[in-house]
């Protein structure tokens, strides 16, 4: 998902850069003000840990392998504000020390993987945790958050590429989201297995008091909610709404209208069955996305059941 140089239009690069700088600056300020001084080395070591963890190859099939990305893992283990700083450090080092991800695309990469992924992931994690308690609920929330954050980050990335006029939205969205729905499965599995292992060895890290310290304040939620939704509104909403007028207006405002996507690039699978306002290609994408999300939700629950099987028995003392 690391966007190289050369794929983003100047406007997209500037907007993502601004959003990323605002998000990272806020996280740094909050970290300096509220975290104890011992947290500074923790952030550095956390980033070094993500680096080392990303180097471990998990065998997938036919000789291929995948690796952890780590946004949700760090958000669950160290808290969302720390996760923003840690993932930013990882991405900056990847950019300057490995040339992985372009300099002009650094803002976009930071926004997608250091702000959207941990931010959305942590919000989902908290939401699911509220509904399902206990270890099983925690693992369920972790798995689903890891999967969904990977997919949402890839959708933001697709939106940035499409808005830059390089690739058509109708192609880049299914391609990016589809691939990352699969990558997300690996991410969810690894993240959940790791969290389960940490809980087993150090349950004290998840004591309610310790966890409250990591949790974001109302202000943080507001700032990141605003940043993420502003980003998604700029990059994704113009395409997600079926109205070509809206798209053209935004493209005109931002100066991309010379790249306007004129003809449908993929034929609609069910011509004539479209919902008013939404053409059937968009509808198919939405339905596929919802089905995938539901499947991931159920699979996350199944995974949590497998990893935390005997909870009820322990609670009732059997």
């Amino acid at each position: 998902m690391h966007i190289p140089d050369g794929f983003l239009s100047p406007a997209t690069a500037l907007v993502t850069g601004g959003l990323a700088a605002a998000g990272l600056g806020y996280a740094l300020r909050r970290a300096r003000k509220t975290l104890p001084s011992s947290a500074t080395p923790l952030l550095g070591l956390g980033a070094a840990f993500v680096f080392a963890a990303q180097m471990l190859n998990f065998p997938v099939a036919g000789g291929t392998s995948g690796h952890l990305i780590g946004g949700v893992l760090v958000a669950v283990l160290l808290g969302p504000m720390a996760a923003v700083v840690v993932m930013s450090a990882v991405l900056m080092l990847q950019c300057f020390l490995f040339a992985d991800g372009g300099v002009t695309a650094l803002g976009a990469n930071l926004f997608n993987m250091a702000i959207v992924a941990p931010g959305v992931g942590y919000a989902v994690y908290r939401g699911v945790r509220r509904l399902f308690g206990g270890l099983r609920g925690r693992l369920f929330a972790t798995a689903f958050a890891a999967w969904l954050s990977t997919v949402v980050a890839s959708v933001a990335c697709a939106g940035e590429l499409a808005l830059s006029g390089i690739v058509p939205w109708r192609l880049v969205l299914p391609a990016m989201a589809g691939v990352h729905m699969l990558i997300g499965v690996g991410e969810a599995l690894i993240t959940t297995l790791v969290v389960a292992a940490v809980v087993r060895v150090r349950p004290d890290l998840f004591d309610p008091d310790v966890e409250r310290e990591r949790a974001p304040r109302a202000g943080d939620v507001a700032v990141y909610g605003l940043l993420v939704s502003a980003g998604l509104a700029v990059f994704v909403a113009p395409f997600a709404s079926g109205w070509p007028d809206g798209l053209e207006k935004v493209a005109g405002v931002l100066g991309f209208d010379h790249h306007a996507m004129t003809a449908p690039l993929v034929g609609a699978p069910l011509p004539g069955y479209g919902v008013p306002g939404i053409d059937s290609g968009t509808l198919a994408t939405i339905v596929a996305g919802l089905a995938g999300t539901l499947a991931a939700f159920l699979a996350s629950y199944a995974l949590a059941r497998v990893l935390a099987p005997r909870e009820r028995a322990v609670e009732t003392g059997e």
Partner: protein, 204 residues
């Protein structure tokens, strides 16, 4: 992911190595912006730029295989995104232009990074007023990534020598345990580092 960082040959001596980090990264960034601003099909510009890059690479005396291997490793990502452009009007030309442009930008930044020790890059970022907390985090990340990598290698080797043949599911659980313990060791190490930093008079 390759483990080798780009600054492996950064401590050599050559006219390019001797330039200040600010100049190198400034020129590289200007090169990237210029490449992105020229019209997409100005092929002669790309040709001139690649000759320029080759010249700099030769002067810097960094082994060509090192740079080529890094470029080839990142090329699939580039191609993957560019492939989608084939469905645009004027696809093949756009595809070729995108790949050429991105590869040039990549090579330019890579040359700057490969001839600059990372500590100099950090100092440059500091001069650019990157917040101090982020700088400390970056410096610690750079310092300790090698250590944690070695640590995870040792843990994995120890585990492997005790497990003869693991099925994929077992392998995944095993690797996850390695990651979990790596995390726990990292936070313990962070506490010790904090004590050491305070003992040497560090103030946040």
């Amino acid at each position: 992911m390759p483990r080798e960082t780009l600054d492996r040959f950064a401590r050599m001596d050559s006219p390019v190595h001797r330039l200040p980090a600010g100049v190198k990264f400034g020129v590289a960034f200007g090169f990237v912006v210029l490449t992105l601003l020229v019209p997409r099909h100005a092929w002669w510009v790309y040709a001139v730029e690649s000759l320029l890059l080759v010249a700099v690479a030769v002067v810097s005396r960094i082994p060509p295989w090192f740079l080529l291997r890094r470029i080839l490793w990142l090329e699939p990502v580039l191609m993957g995104v560019a492939l989608l452009a084939l469905w645009q009007p004027g696809g093949p030309g756009l595809f070729a232009a995108l790949v050429a442009r991105s590869t040039l930008c990549l090579a330019g930044m890579m040359l700057a990074a490969a001839t600059t020790p990372f500590s100099d890059t950090l100092r440059l970022l500091e001069r650019l007023h990157v917040p101090r907390m982020l700088m400390t985090t970056l410096a610690l990340t750079f310092r300790y990534q090698y250590l944690l990598l070695d640590e995870s290698d040792r843990m994995r080797r120890a585990r492997r020598s005790r497990t003869f043949h693991a099925r994929r599911g077992v392998e995944w659980r095993m690797l996850s345990t390695v990651v979990a313990h790596l995390f726990l060791r990292s936070i313990d190490r962070a506490a010790r580092i904090h004590a050491a930093m305070c003992a040497r008079g560090w103030r946040p």
